[in-house]
């Protein structure tokens, strides 16, 4: 039986593996901790999502979590986040009011390029997946657009 085929036993039977000496990080083969895991338990801030009719939704967001993910997880339906936070679809478009612009930061060149696809984009526009929550954002207002399409 060809032991490198499936059904040939545990993975130790796969060719070359014995030669590499690959075992639990001994050779740089270790698993890299995810950023979300590293940020767990470092506190939360309150973000106010406000829609175009003025309806407000406060959401507690963990530090390091992005504003798209926090919105989608908490049922803020005006934010879609189709691409899951890859800055590749522009369906998490939001407006950051002037007072919070400095705290939220400016869009990167790539984000500006993707904002081309947002609906009713103006100078306050950001893609919420590109804004990771910091302690300074506690109490920040995020305005959601009428539509993402």
């Amino acid at each position: 039986m060809d032991e490198t085929r499936p059904g040939g036993g545990e993975v130790g039977a796969y060719e070359h593996e014995r030669d590499t000496g690959a075992r639990n990080g001994a050779n740089g083969c270790g698993r890299i901790p995810s950023s979300s895991a590293q940020l767990k338990g470092r506190g939360v801030v309150s973000i106010r999502y406000v829609d175009q009719d003025g309806a407000e939704r406060p959401v507690e967001v963990g530090l390091g979590v992005n504003l798209m993910e926090a919105a989608v997880r908490n049922g803020v339906v005006a934010i879609e986040g189709e691409c899951g936070g890859a800055c590749a679809c522009a369906t998490c478009h939001v407006y950051i009011p002037e007072a919070w612009r400095a705290v939220a930061g400016e869009p990167s060149e790539h984000e500006r390029m993707m904002l081309e696809f947002g609906v009713e984009v103006d100078e306050r526009s950001r893609l919420s997946c590109q804004i990771k929550v910091t302690p300074e954002m506690d109490g920040m207002t995020v305005l959601t657009p009428r539509s993402q399409r």
Binding site: T4, R5, P6, G7, E10, V11, G12, Y14, E15, H16, E17, D19, T20, G21, A22, R23, N24, N27, G28, C29, G30, R31, I32, S34, E82, C83, G84, G85, A86, A88, C89, A90, H110, M113, M114, E116, F117, R149
Partner: protein, 398 residues
């Protein structure tokens, strides 16, 4: 030489032997190293962790789609899956409106009729092959009418497409021939539509709207349609048959869904995670990078294995159990990033409709004694058959 930051293997998603249990293989690699490499299909790397797979799907500037999403090459361009943002985004923005959750919800009644029609055809018999009499025709009967394929041609076209999904490596000549036949047929349909009254549908959009500043050629329109059909065939069908198999083997889960104790919404995501109909898609590295501790040079292929990411125990504890109460919303079965499955809202409606219809109309269905699951290889992993037995019931449609 020692100290490679990956495990060397002979894995291929086209190999029927691996397709029977890819998860045991992925778990074996993952337990030793987050990165695997295969000398098959011209050589490729594959992360086995959730984070690694998601990163490949998400970082389109490092992991490009422009060389094609299939491994090996699909031989034909499929649009817009072979594009990167922002070009891809321009296409996707035009197409998205036909695939929204609202559009899928509005189609629910028609999809229910498809389910009832198919079940009617075998319900008086007391036995059926749930794959070839229900889940596979379900997709063809749902999607082909949308494209204007007349009733008498649906089975023929559906069979050809299904064959193409699984035989790209098995029969090269046959594949080219089949492709040309499907090309001629579907391009002919589009040409015919140009002469007919306008309708608000996908084909009309492909005919007359601008994509990235210009109208599509007949060939490009066909490439979109072909992708739509490939995406709609043994993918949703696989989730349906896998879920029916699970529910037959776990009657308690049947009861929890029927009683409402477990909401469909969450259960569907777990069924979709657990079945992972599309096992993996290819990206090519564009710039030097490191993935899960492994340096990668430009030009190498990476297979983003949805199936490996979905069974990462750090993301989904007890990953090899189908637990319909778990929160599986982050699964990678629809991919992630720019190319996240455009048909995912339809897939959910079809899957729920199929399962609800079977639970309602064939409440005591079970898998035939002695059944041994056998799965297709290729990008799409699906049960080849699922023989079921049940107490015969009445037809519901005229």
């Amino acid at each position: 030489m020692a100290d490679k930051p990956f495990i060397e293997t002979h894995y291929s998603h086209h190999d029927p032997a691996f397709a029977q249990d890819p998860y045991g293989f992925f778990a074996g690699v993952r337990s030793k190293c987050p990165m695997g490499h295969s000398d098959q299909l011209g050589s490729f790397y594959f992360p086995t962790t959730y984070d690694g797979v998601k990163r490949v799907f998400s970082e389109f500037r490092t992991f490009t789609s422009t060389e094609g999403a299939g491994l090996p090459d699909q031989m034909v361009r499929l649009l817009p899956v072979d594009l990167d943002p922002p070009q891809h985004t321009r296409w996707r923005r035009v197409l998205n409106r036909f695939f929204t959750s609202e559009a899928a919800a509005e189609d629910r009644a028609r999809i229910q009729t498809v389910a009832d029609t198919l079940v009617d055809d075998f319900i008086e018999r007391g036995r059926a092959d749930a794959v070839n009499e229900l889940t596979r025709p379900f997709l063809a009967m749902t999607m082909l009418p949308v494209l204007g394929v007349p009733l008498e041609d649906r089975q023929m076209i559906g069979q050809k497409l299904l064959w193409m999904v699984h035989n790209r490596l098995v029969d090269h000549e046959g594949w080219i021939k089949c492709y040309q036949e499907v090309d001629a047929y579907l391009t002919g349909l589009v040409a015919k539509r140009r002469l007919e009254p306008r309708r608000n549908d996908l084909v009309q959009c492909l005919i007359e709207e601008e994509f990235d500043g210009r109208r599509l050629s007949d060939t490009e329109g066909y490439q979109v349609i072909l992708l739509t059909l490939f995406g709609a065939l043994d993918s949703t069908s696989s989730a349906m048959s896998s879920s029916l198999y699970h529910l037959a083997r776990h009657p308690a889960d049947k009861q929890r869904l029927l009683s409402g104790e477990t909401p469909w919404e969450g259960a569907l995501e777990e069924f979709i995670r657990f079945s992972t109909p599309i096992q993996g898609l290819r990206r090519q590295v564009t710039q030097p990078t490191e993935l899960e501790g492994c340096p990668l040079e430009p030009g190498v292929n990476v297979l983003a294995l949805c199936g490996a990411g979905n069974r990462d125990p750090e993301k989904f504890p007890e990953p090899d159990l189908c637990l319909i109460d778990r929160d599986a919303r982050d699964h990678l079965s629809f991919g992630a990033g720019a190319h996240v499955c455009i048909g995912r809202h339809f897939a959910r409606v079809m899957l729920q409709t199929c399962l609800e219809t079977v639970l309602r109309r064939l409440p005591d269905y079970d898998v035939e004694p002695g059944f041994e699951p056998d799965y297709t290889a290729s990008e799409a992993r699906a049960l080849k058959t699922l023989p079921i037995v049940f107490t015969p019931g009445p037809r519901v449609l005229a």
